[in-house]
Symmetry: C2
Subunit: 455 residues, 2 copies
């Protein structure tokens, strides 16, 4: 009943799965169904608010698969459920993931129906990992896709993730920071994310620091002096313009005295931000501090960033919090992990509105001579089609066959990919044609054959 993860670390628990994965595993085990299955991970449809998605979360998936095991406490708990035979629990005790994984590189833009991850393994293993594989890839893809829109809207201005407090738990905070950085953010305020992933950290002060002093002027001065280096201060605790006058005066004094503590930037977190920023910019410039930057925050998302930039707001960077870390407008994607092949035979789900394209598939992406992507096709993996095949083998026999790029390299790759997207896709409004994705004739023919021959 406790929240302590005494037996192993939370993110490693083999019990981070839906019960039905285990009841199906039991059935596969007892029915001796040990043939290879192919499962593919894809998003069934794009939400209207997204013109493209960004793949993220692969290193976490591979780490999960490589370390998957049931410890004694897991097995004891499962035994207590009275659902599983001792022989099945003995089997679970030795279970390791032995499959093959193909995936698109992290940071790759993708579209509806495109398989971004494929797992080929004995069906019991491939099925068992479904819940956590989706859980990891879904969240980071959701955030990277939102963050990429913020990056487009910011047009080169600095973006920092401020969202930990309203992210959905600890792992969400860390993975949101990671996914946002992958998609082009410049840093995060979440310290543990800096430690885990090497993301640049950013952060300054809260209103409470100002409020804990009897005077705002004293609070600003004391904060900068103890910091002993260039720093950002918050100026809207009582009145942003009055705060700006105080900053200009203090900054002149600090410059004159060559104090190690200097004011590098001011942050405004409330009110009508364009008007506030203009007033503050004027006060700072008139006060001899044109070098002090302005950071804006407070419930921002890509739409507001876009409006602020378009309005010519004098701003150098944005803190983006809740609406990024929760992906407020699109908190979930219709991402699924579906059986495509079992025992060498293609499979197709035909539940109403949830039909799948069968077979082991590949994404082929074509581009113009300029490098701009012109369209994708989804074909069978063994088809020969024009374009670059995006899915690559990253794990075989349960072990990585390649060293994934580090986060900074994936961030560079993501930026390069986003530059190659048709520009209209990066407009925030959705009033454009969708990116062309076709299903190959071979995939369609396979679906037809299955519909006619099977259940």
């Amino acid at each position: 009943m406790s929240f302590r993860y005494t037996t192993k670390m939370l993110h490693e628990s083999a019990l981070l799965t839906d019960l039905y994965e285990l009841t199906m595993a039991r059935a596969y085990h007892e029915l001796n169904m040990r043939d290879m299955a192919v499962f593919e991970l894809f998003v069934r449809r794009l939400p209207p608010e997204r013109r493209y998605l960004v793949a993220a979360g692969l290193p976490q998936v591979l780490e999960y698969l490589e370390t998957l095991h049931f410890c004694a406490a897991d097995l004891e708990f499962l035994g207590g459920l009275k659902l599983f035979s001792p022989s099945f629990l003995d089997y679970l005790a030795t279970l390791r993931f032995t499959g093959t994984v193909h995936a698109v590189p992290e940071g790759t833009p993708y579209f509806a129906n495109e398989p971004i991850l494929r797992i080929t393994a004995p069906i019991l293993e491939a099925q068992l990992v479904e819940s956590r594989v989706i859980n990891l890839m879904h969240f980071q893809s959701t955030i990277a896709s939102k963050a990429a829109r913020c990056v487009s809207a910011a047009r080169g201005k600095r973006l920092v993730d401020f969202g930990m407090r309203r992210a959905h738990g600890a792992e969400a905070a860390l993975c949101a920071a990671r996914a946002a950085y992958l998609a082009g953010f410049d840093g995060t305020a979440t310290v543990e994310a800096g430690k885990q992933f090497g993301i640049p950290l950013s952060g300054t002060m809260a209103h409470s620091f100002i409020q804990a002093h009897d005077s705002e002027e004293a609070a600003l001065r004391r904060f900068v002096m103890t910091t002993g280096q260039p720093t950002t201060v918050l100026i809207d605790t009582y009145d942003a313009e009055r705060g700006a006058y105080r900053v200009a005066s203090l900054a002149r004094e600090l410059k004159a005295s060559q104090s190690p503590g200097q004011i590098r930037a001011v942050r405004v977190d409330s009110g009508e931000l364009t008007a506030q920023a203009r007033a503050v910019r004027g006060i700072l410039d008139d006060g001899g501090c044109p070098e002090i930057e302005i950071i804006l925050s407070g419930g921002l998302d890509e739409t507001q960033i876009d409006a602020l930039v378009r309005a010519g707001t004098p701003v150098d960077g944005f803190g983006v919090g809740t609406r990024l870390d929760c992906s407020e407008d699109v908190p979930s994607l219709d991402m699924v992990y579906k059986l495509e092949v079992y025992a060498g035979k293609s499979r197709r789900k035909r539940a109403h509105g949830k039909e799948t394209w069968p077979g082991t598939k590949q994404i082929f992406r074509e581009h113009a001579p300029s490098g701009t992507y012109t369209g994708d096709s989804i074909g069978l993996a063994d088809e020969s089609r024009p374009g670059t095949a995006l899915l690559e083998e990253v794990m075989q026999g349960g072990r990585r066959v390649t060293t994934l790029p580090d986060l900074a390299a994936s961030r560079d790759y993501c930026r390069a990919c986003l530059e190659r997207l048709p520009p209209a896709l990066k407009d925030l409004d959705g009033a454009h044609d969708p990116y062309p994705v076709v299903i190959s004739a071979e995939v369609r023919a396979l679906a037809d054959r299955l519909d006619q021959s099977g259940e």
Copy 2:
């Protein structure tokens, strides 16, 4: 750069905080500001989609506070940032939370501006814990509030959390299961949540199990036979009505043979659910299986549950997934943690649109003779006001002063509280007067005095 939390468990990391909490801590330390601060946690305003909220997450907050410490690896990382002096890092090495915590019991309904948690501690400690305290309380409150609406809509029908795969990470999946159970759900599919919190587990089979067989009939038979106990089967992989005929026939056979494996329920996960459920109910009843229950799932939320129940859909339970675990319509609340008192003096933030009510406060809740709540007032903690004072001391000197109720007891308490809410608040549409919450004259007078005297 790895996702392994090698030094301690993720949820315990003292670095799960925003950088500014640490830069402010450094300033408080170096300025020798060691006076007591009072911070209160509250939601500034209710989203239009919520008429009340449900407090959740307190045991996790207390565990975090009790175990808070910086380990050697944390300090080494912080040292590498070149932001903190060795003497400050030495101080952090010995830091423990020594404060007092008051909170409303878990499961308590609450409203805008009501402080549901109050921390009184030396300002450095009280400030440092802000990010993680909000992170824990915000998410569970968000989910419990959503889940309570589902419980009202389901009118006694069984509800199970199916949302792990699209929850925002591992902790979100676990805490969503917990918060939903607190608010009246009957169980979860997330196995680790069953282990951590003792929540009843539920789960059956996925479409892939059916697809891995050449015939649906064989798949159903083999699943039930290997299960060896009453179980739920999924019938819409190809066609729900055809699935229902197969189930009726198989169920009769299993009953006749007194097999330990029996069909207890069928699940339908796609299509127009009322029509499907009616057709399936008819087929099962006509087929001599009136005892087989019908479970519906597939993108459900409280609005759809309400519509299904109102339409008289023959249904015994619902699986609620993504829209619950992401709180799809309201993925975040405007929950904040604000300084109210420092060094014996009340404090007020006046940033535009983000003004706070100052002072150490208490919630007083009144009720009619019938038990129904009639309204709340927010007064100063030392005011004498009508109604029940909701905030209770739960921690003193960094140690719990009371044993919190276990999750099942909190669930009972939550149910009793929700029964006492004015019925109109539980209507899903928002076309009713809000619950009355008044700010006491003493709090207003204190705010006026601060506005006149201070910054």
